[in-house]
Homo-oligomer: 253 residues x 2
């Protein structure tokens, strides 16, 4: 497949490099940032542009890995073409393409990507969708080259999947940030808490998260909760209390 | 060392079994629950009691691994003895012993324990404290038999350490619970999100949690945030918003 990659962020970088490894050819990279476009183009051994109007109209696949907010504007500006437009976003419905393209779909990898960290796509679940079964077959084939875990999922359900990822990844990471701030203020190194973080993630491979829940909020231990909220600023204390109340409620059921 | 274990929960079980492996002798187990006391006593090959007044006064170590709220009452009821009273709680100050005992201290393992899951104590950080240097040396020696990572820490700092663990473990686990609920409602299996959970934990071994942060809250993407809070109940939406605002604030700094 001849692919044009639109975007040069973490998802664009990891996904396009993995597809190149599988023998796909990238003919062009578009990015708003000339610098990022050039870096990724070198790795993919292809041309790059920072002007949306210079995107060629002869690709088989237009792979969009850009911010949700930028997606529709970019799709709208593509020259008429016969390629399949594919986006990689959790929360954007497939219908974003319908005004602009005949062939389109979605390929959403459920993972968090950092530029610095290598990614093994094999175990990453991919959720795909397309405007017809021919395009779905093509997207399914591409996704299964990368991952052992590909499944079809509607935009409606993908929206909820992405929301669950916001809790399990983004908000979890912020719990780490708050823990880090508390430790730093006491002159303690964040590394002391890594075994606990790892075990917390590991436990839910064997137990349901509800079964794995421990801590003072399960029985809403007033004594310790009241002491602990006095140790933190008001905003963090509000987060502490709202999560604790929700834990208690969950475990009363 | 001749040890009496007071408590039969997850911490008591894992810790006493690990100490037995290192050659310590358990002479007695106390637990409110006769059933649990008997189960653990069998594993430790020792006597058990569910009556606090039957705890022998000839042990070298009285190891308390009970709920915070139960601790003082139990300590107060011990017969006069020359053993070292040691508790294992994050948020309870060492001074809880001072009215009742001449020799006392703390040995706090920073980990989450489940009965079902095996624990490798070697990599678990232990935080110790004692009322004098002789007792501190004894507790240090015991802790280093189990773990490579033993350090002294005051009650004041341990209190904050425990608070950071509430965020990094208890609250993180509740983020998994909310994710699980959202997935279940859509007929999706929780296992689809495990690679994301693992990678989120793995990333903070190499990046600071602040550097690792991704998702719509970093730039407070109104469009997606407003869509997402409409998908969840009011209480969960409040948690979503308060964490998102705090993420945004953290990343504005």
């Amino acid at each position: 497949m001849k692919i044009i990659c639109i975007g040069s962020g973490n998802v664009a970088t990891h996904l396009s490099l993995a597809l190149k490894k599988k023998g796909h050819i990238f003919s062009q990279i578009y990015s708003r940032s000339e610098e990022n476009a050039e870096i990724l183009a070198k790795q993919l051994n292809c041309k790059w542009t920072s002007s949306i109007h210079d995107i060629s109209n002869d690709a088989d696949i237009y792979l969009f890995a850009v911010k949700d907010a930028a997606l529709e504007e970019l799709v709208a500006k593509l020259k008429p073409n016969n390629g399949i437009c594919i986006h990689t976003a959790g929360s954007v419905p497939i219908t974003i393409f319908e005004k602009y393209s005949k062939n389109y779909g979605v390929m959403y990898p459920l993972q968090t990507f950092s530029k610095e960290q290598l990614v093994d796509f094999k175990k990453i679940p991919f959720f795909i969708e397309a405007n017809n079964s021919k395009n779905e077959d093509i997207i399914f084939t591409i996704a299964t080259e990368l991952s052992e875990k590909v499944q079809r999922l509607s935009s409606e359900k993908r929206k909820y999947l992405h929301l669950s990822a916001v809790f399990a990844c983004n908000f979890t990471n912020h719990m780490y940030t708050i823990a880090n701030n508390i430790l730093e203020q006491q002159g303690l190194d964040f590394s002391v808490i890594l075994p606990l973080i790892d075990e917390t993630a590991s436990k839910v491979h064997h137990l349901s998260p509800k079964e794995a829940q421990t801590g003072p909020a399960v029985r809403f231990d007033h004594n310790i909760i009241e002491k602990q909220i006095k140790l933190i600023d008001k905003e963090t204390a509000n987060i502490y209390l709202s999560i604790s109340k929700n834990i208690y409620k969950t475990h009363q059921k």
